[in-house]
């Protein structure tokens, strides 16, 4: 199997599994317990906290709080900020956020909040002047992702942070789920207040996330109960998963695969765009402004879901922005916000690479894909591509 869907989830790294194993067997204690077993669990949790803090450049390990997933981190960040300053009723976010942010902000609109939705241009980039003019004295929160999950387009987190800091009193939350482990991040040198991440995007298991909470940021808890995580997030710590996340962060930090992955992605992207008629890149062409592992490409006039099924039969895993494939029967909001023509958005395929991809994976994909697209294009009812 050739797995090119690493933005959806990743394989648990063997190193991560090894690190977790003892905490699924002999070390089964509760880190809140005072006895030796509990103390060992606590030690492991604190070591993981340090590993997470190191990877994202937090100034202090106490700024890392473990959660169950990226969506919980995003929900907590947003709800927690709003609850802490109930007099402020304005939020600034973008149209291309992950559902965890986008759908929550839609919900908040029904709860009496006013949301300014920043759009993007056809390259998927923000206009920072729009952000500047959206900020108001009553803006409670600015929530803007670091890397888009579909296109890999990066938003300039540092610059955005400065703008938010200089022009408002708003708290700045970043959904960093798709970026962590793929690009260097140093939060202490930014004006980021809150930053969400998720383990399973970087070779930790599913079911573990974290929220970075800058010292001094007041955030009401989302899950109330025991005094775990310094009283900020109740619930018995999922120690095996926390250890897994820590190990994955260490692996990403020490990793020397990034350049190799980027080269593979570049070759895949270049060759597809060169070889296949009616193929177009979604997202800014300048690769320094995109994640190094993602290529989102539209094959116009054919359907992404059909492409996906044919690739699947060839043992290649990808994602599509086609409306037909999604459970909501809605074409990708990111591509729509970018004004990608409907016939192209329907044929969009996301290739997202990871540390276990090889040159051979790319060779085979490049061998199989052109035939699939040719076959589907020959079947297309759109007149444009008929010869």
């Amino acid at each position: 199997m050739i797995y090119l869907d690493n933005n959806a989830t990743t394989r648990v790294a063997p190193e991560v599994l090894d690190a977790m194993q003892p905490y699924l067997s002999e070390f089964f204690g509760n880190p809140s317990s005072a006895h030796a077993l509990g103390r060992e669990m606590k030690r492991a949790v604190e070591q993981s906290r340090e590993q997470v803090a190191t990877l994202i450049g937090a100034a202090d390990t106490s700024e890392i709080v473990f959660t169950s997933c990226g969506s919980e981190s995003d929900n907590w960040a947003i709800r927690g900020v709003l609850a802490a300053q109930p007099q402020k009723k304005h939020i600034v976010t973008t149209l291309v956020e992950h559902e965890a942010v986008r759908n929550l902000c839609r919900l908040l609109e029904n709860e009496g909040y006013e949301v300014t939705w920043l759009g993007v241009d056809q390259n998927g980039e923000l206009n920072l002047d729009h952000l500047r003019s959206a900020l108001r004295p009553d803006t409670a929160l600015v929530s803007i992702m670091l890397a888009n999950n579909e296109t890999g387009v990066l938003f300039p987190m540092e610059e955005i942070g400065h703008i938010v800091r200089e022009n408002s009193q708003a708290v700045f939350h970043v959904d960093g789920v798709q970026a962590v482990g793929k690009i260097p991040i140093d939060l202490k040198s930014t004006a980021v207040d809150l930053f969400a991440l998720s383990g399973h995007k970087l070779h930790a298991p599913q079911g573990i996330g974290a929220l970075y909470v800058r010292k001094g940021i007041s955030l009401l808890p989302l899950i109330v109960g025991g005094a775990q995580e310094q009283g900020r997030r109740a619930g018995t710590s999922a120690v095996p998963n926390i250890v897994g996340l820590g190990a994955a962060c260490r692996l990403a930090h020490e990793d020397n695969n990034h350049e190799r992955i980027e080269k593979l992605r570049n070759r895949l992207e270049d060759e597809i765009l060169k070889q296949i008629p009616n193929a177009r890149l979604n997202g800014v062409a300048d690769r320094s402004k995109r994640l190094p592992n993602t290529a989102n490409i539209s094959f116009e006039y054919v359907d992404g879901q059909s492409i996906l099924m044919h690739l699947d039969q060839a043992g290649i895993c990808v994602s599509t922005g086609s409306a037909c494939h999604s459970t909501t029967h809605e074409s990708s909001p990111t591509l729509r916000a970018m004004n990608v023509p409907y016939t192209a958005a329907q044929g969009s395929v996301r290739f997202s690479l990871g540390r276990y991809n090889t040159e051979a994976d790319i060779d085979i994909t490049l061998q199989v894909l052109p035939e699939i697209i040719a076959k589907l294009a020959a079947m297309s009812p759109y007149q444009q591509i008929r010869v």
């Binding site: 059909s306 409907y342 329907q346 009812p381 759109y382």
Partner: protein, 187 residues
């Protein structure tokens, strides 16, 4: 999706356009962005001699359209229309999940649209003494009027029940409605 459906997706039958003169029908779904085009050729006995399709859509739509082309080839347009009117049968036959029912429905709709294209052309070209209304079951305007007057019919459904007119592709429903309006005598 059953194995047969998967087979039709990976090896679609009858892709392309029917030879001229042909009749075409289209359907699309704004909801899921799919687009399907059917073209049929009909022989002198009013039987579908060739059915072809084109699709930009999901695997279910491709499979449904491919299966339909096989099912309707050789059938009279009235029989083919009956197939098109029963997407539920095809949904069950292919083992399609309820969430994807619409993909089968739009394939059926495109088939019906192609048959209507044929029916409208036949009606236009009809040179008989009496105006032909239902081309699937060959029912003339006079027959329909007689049924309406004899039995005091007031709806298209009643007309269809009485003389089969309108039971096929449905292209004549508007015409039957107009005949009903003209014959709407005070009772």
């Amino acid at each position: 999706m059953h194995r047969e459906a998967a087979d039709h997706f990976f090896n679609p039958r009858n892709v392309g356009d029917a030879s001229e003169p042909s009749f075409t029908g289209r359907s699309a779904s704004l909801r899921c962005g799919a687009h399907v085009r059917f073209s049929i050729q009909v022989d002198e006995a009013h039987a579908v001699s060739q059915a072809r399709f084109r699709v930009a859509g999901c695997n279910v739509l491709v499979a449904a359209a491919s299966v339909l082309t096989e099912q309707v080839t050789g059938l009279s347009t009235a029989e083919a229309a009956a197939v098109g009117q029963k997407p539920a049968a095809l949904i069950e036959h292919l083992g399609v999940e309820p969430a994807n029912a619409q993909c089968v429905e739009i394939a059926c709709e495109a088939l019906l649209d192609a048959i209507r294209d044929y029916s409208n052309a036949v009606r236009e070209d009809w040179a008989g003494d009496e105006a032909l209304i239902c081309t699937c079951f060959f029912v003339s305007e006079r027959t329909i009027e007689r049924e309406i007057q004899t039995h005091g019919l007031t709806t298209v459904a009643e007309v269809t029940k009485a003389c089969n007119a309108g039971a096929g592709c449905g292209s004549c429903h508007q015409l039957i409605q107009e005949i009903l309006a003209t014959n709407d005598l005070p009772r």
